[in-house]
């Protein structure tokens, strides 16, 4: 008798399994140019489905994530400015509270080995915990969000679609957000088309000259093709005594990491102002002038900056013109990445 029950449940089990396989979600593809390095991120926990992507997109744009439900991820990470917070040196959170750093752009994250200006976060899947729980940002907690989302009919159905299970967990929230942000990839700027010899990638003489200036003076830290590096560097900024932010040292507690910050990507830099970890420079001219004339020498200054960078006026202008070729309009205006206005379809 007992054996019979076992056999029957075994067969039912097979049917249930088949059912799961037959209801197949729509796949999403993670694409990048063939000549780029392989992404660092291991995608194994993501379902790589449209449903998970759309769920992540809804979460990214939903103020429900903050304690008083006034700000969303997108409040400080706006698509049209390369997913960063334009016009504010220090980003602000709920109730107008001011943080201590300039929000960093979100692009090509699958190639990052650490996150935040000081690299305090070690994995893309747990990155969103930082703004969620920071007092000056969303001032909430993952547990609170799990509770709120479990009460929401809209999210129950979005989670059901994505995971065949409407129960919300912390892990699922983090994975869905990852599925969205990891897709925010930019590789269709004029510079990229130039590299691929595509139509629209024809460089002017000035842009070519700017590229040379860049390669001779900037590219050792802002490495092509991602225009960043996974390193932390002291780029010679004098310390802002109102913040006393020593960067990477907070994480490693090593004096040799004092004043070191992440080398950020320069992609879409035309629109990601203000610049630096504390947003002290409003324009790219100021940034370039810093590197040519204001670098502060100290024990942890980057090797690359030990020798002064000298640029003629023309070289500076050419460099600025080149930096604009890193703008990727297709990325900045891609509707798939924008606020989800309708029920998610495609």
């Amino acid at each position: 008798m007992n054996k019979l029950i076992k056999n029957i449940s075994f067969i039912i089990g097979i049917f249930i399994c088949l059912g799961f396989v037959l209801v197949k979600n729509e796949e999403v593809f993670f694409e990048y140019p063939e000549y780029w390095p392989k992404p660092v991120y291991n995608f194994s926990k993501l379902s790589m489905t449209e449903e998970e992507f759309q769920l992540g997109r809804h979460l990214f744009y939903d103020p429900l994530l903050s304690r008083d439900e006034t700000i969303s991820c997108a409040s400080c990470h706006l698509q049209a400015t390369g997913f960063t917070h334009v016009d504010h040196d220090l980003s602000h959170g709920i109730e107008g509270r001011i943080g201590t750093r300039n929000s960093i752009s979100i692009m090509n994250l699958a190639w990052n080995t650490s996150f935040m200006w000081d690299g305090g976060v070690n994995h893309i899947e747990v990155q969103s915990l930082a703004p969620i729980s920071s007092e000056n940002e969303m001032d909430s907690s993952l547990a609170t969000i799990v509770e709120k989302l479990n009460k929401s009919e809209k999210y129950n159905s979005l989670f059901e679609n994505a995971y065949r299970d409407s129960i919300v967990t912390g892990q699922k929230i983090l994975l869905a957000l990852t599925q969205f942000v990891v897709m925010l990839n930019t590789y269709n700027s004029k510079y990229d088309k130039y590299i691929r010899s595509e139509i629209g990638g024809e460089f002017t003489e000035q842009e070519n000259s700017g590229l040379n200036v860049f390669r001779n003076n900037c590219a050792s830290c802002h490495k092509e093709p991602l225009f960043s590096s996974t390193d932390f560097k002291n780029n010679g900024l004098n310390i802002d005594s109102t913040l006393n932010d020593f960067g990477r040292m907070r994480v490693t507690k090593k004096p040799q990491d004092s004043l070191k910050f992440k080398v950020p990507t320069l992609r879409n830099i035309q629109f990601t102002q203000p610049y630096m970890h504390d947003g002290r420079f409003e324009t790219l001219q100021e940034v370039i002038n810093h590197y040519t004339s204001d670098v502060q020498h100290g024990p942890t200054l980057a090797n690359e900056l030990q020798e002064q960078i000298t640029l003629t006026h023309k070289e500076k202008v050419d460099l600025l013109v080149f930096l604009r070729t890193l703008t990727d309009q297709e990325f900045l205006y891609n509707k798939r990445f924008s606020y989800p206005r309708e029920t998610p379809t495609n």
Partner: protein, 242 residues
Amino acid sequence: MLKSKTITTIRSKKIKLVTLVVLFANSILFAQENYLKIEINPFFKTKVLEKNSWYVSKNNDSLQFTKIKFYLTDFKILTKEGKIKQLPNSDFLVGIFNGESKSILLENVSYKTGDQLLFNIGVNEKMNTSGALSGALDPANGMYWSWQSGYINFKIEGKSPSCSTRKNKFQFHIGGYKKPFAATRSKSVTIANAINNVLIIDFDIATLFDSIDISNLNQVMIPGKEAVEIADILPDLFSLNE
């Protein structure tokens, strides 16, 4: 989106039907009856440990506890013959008060009296660097640092008039996985008397408070030297109930 021919693509992994069926069949046809249940028995010296009761340590500190939560992970059996049997997915979050779980169920485990039970107090480096995990390790459990990635291995909160802090509170959030501040510790107990497959492990919080000066050391919320100092004492809190 990308017009060039040069595209590399990462696709989703198709569910392998075979794997699912095999897993399902396994769980039905070979349901194991071998298990080991571990009960954590919390006390302060000779008194049962209860929330908001007063206790006095060897240093004459009066103490009250409001929260004690910790991870016990990565269970293994070391047989008398010296063989190590790893128990997969054996990561548990134990909470002493508020009806949180004080028992751990190890399933599909075979052991003999006299074998050693090995486990970690806290979460190992690999799990600290593996992104968003589920179950006991879900960051929603409130045992995860957001500003500097990593699990809080051990949380002890309460108050004592010996602490000149706000509301006399002490807070120990012990964690950290990077050398030299790694705070996860291993522990082994002999499986001497698991009557009806239940092993009782005593947890004496007095051991910690007898060995630290809480007038000086009362707020540890980040990985570092102080966290390591406390982590070194934690294994001594656990012992087999004889």
